[in-house]
């Protein structure tokens, strides 16, 4: 049974692409056949974060329009052979992507992979709607910050109305991935807490990813953090989220919360 998961947020820059790449790599490492698909037509970036920017020949639009066959366009990862990428197009014509085309590509991908992760563009325009259109479930990426939470609320509304599942009267499962979380700041009341965000958005929690320098290092290198052998907290958090996505019961830990009193005092002084 293959699953199509849209990674979406409404707001830009909250970590959709990073999360798609990191969870995709973690799933693939556990033996699942995974395809990550970049829906950000015109501003593709998933290829760069995955370290495959020089290997893109054909893209999603080429396949959707029938100019290339899907196997020609899929880029198989050189490090994890169960992981593939379908890049977005750099073409500026956003209308090049049609609903019928996307439907055909997604259906074909379902026959080849266990997980299809659709990296949505920011916003609530056509590209974002197409990315979620044929999804079975959604990961809503949110920062603990007012504008991100507001936009996520909007996206949740769209997931409940504009997806095929919703229109057919079926339930659309949505899970929250809280990224760039800083437990120390949250505990000082400077940042929305996990409970605050869950309370406001009222969808189940898939994972909490701490703010981490290792994330930038990973995208600098073009190697998702779950792929490069990193033992950082962010990497472990993404791996836990991936395991929860396949239905494993992984206890939720708030990353960075177990700071010693000494560090906490230092942290308070510094802030």
């Amino acid at each position: 049974m293959s699953k199509v998961v849209v990674v979406t947020s409404g707001k830009g820059g909250v970590g959709k692409t990073t999360s798609t790449a990191s969870i995709g790599a973690a799933l693939a490492k556990s033996g699942k056949r995974v395809c990550v698909v970049d829906f950000d037509v015109g501003l593709r970036n998933l290829d760069l974060v995955m370290g495959a920017e020089r290997r893109v020949v054909y893209d999603l639009i080429n396949v959707a329009q029938g100019d290339a066959k899907l196997p020609q366009a899929l880029i198989r990862d050189k490090r994890i052979d169960t992981l593939s990428l379908l890049a977005a197009s750099q073409t500026r014509d956003k209308d090049a992507l049609t609903e019928e085309g996307v439907k055909r590509v997604v259906e074909e991908l379902r026959g080849m992979f266990d997980f299809i992760l659709c990296d949505s563009p920011a916003g609530i325009e056509r590209g974002a709607l197409l990315a979620m259109r044929f999804a079975d479930e959604a990961i809503v990426v949110t920062n603990p910050e007012v504008s991100s939470v507001r936009d996520s609320d909007r996206i949740i509304g769209l997931l409940d109305s504009k997806t095929l599942r919703a229109e057919q009267g079926q339930r659309m499962d949505k899970q929250l991935l809280l990224t760039r979380f800083d437990a120390a700041r949250a505990s000082r009341g400077e940042m929305l807490s996990v409970a605050d965000v869950l309370d406001i958005l009222s969808i189940p929690l898939l994972g909490i990813i701490p703010e981490s320098e290792d994330i930038l290092r990973a995208s600098n290198l073009g190697a998702p953090i779950t792929m490069n052998g990193s033992t950082s907290q962010a990497s472990r958090s993404y791996e836990d989220a991936a395991r929860r996505l396949v239905g494993e019961a992984v206890p939720m830990v708030v990353p960075g919360e177990k700071k010693s009193l000494f560090n906490r005092i230092l942290g308070r002084r510094a802030a």
């Binding site: 007012v146 409940d160 807490s193």
Partner: protein
């Protein structure tokens, strides 16, 4: 920043939380006709289920949106014997 505010440092997160709660309560109604439709769907079905037992496969739901108009079609098949049973029960309680 004075010495007093150092001691008082209460954090701004509660303000963020409160502002969001107020804002979203409003936006969910004005921007989310779809949410409203989903809510109506659930409540209508719950109301029907309160009075007659309906098999999940006997319910057809269609939600749509065209321009500024949202539509909700609910097609429920209720076997006539259940309606008769229900009417008899109601008559009995009315007589009592």
């Amino acid at each position: 920043m004075n010495l007093f505010s150092l001691f008082k440092s209460r954090g701004t997160a509660p303000v963020a939380r409160e502002r969001l709660q107020i804002l979203l309560a409003h936006e969910r109604v004005t921007l989310g006709p779809a949410n409203l439709i989903a809510m109506l769907r659930d409540e209508i079905l719950a109301t029907i289920a309160k009075h007659v037992e309906i098999a999940p496969e006997a319910v057809k739901i269609k939600m749509g949106q065209e321009g500024s108009i949202s539509t909700l079609e609910i097609d429920v098949e209720i076997p006539t014997e259940k309606i008769a049973k229900r009417n008899n029960a109601m008559r009995a309680t009315a007589a009592a």
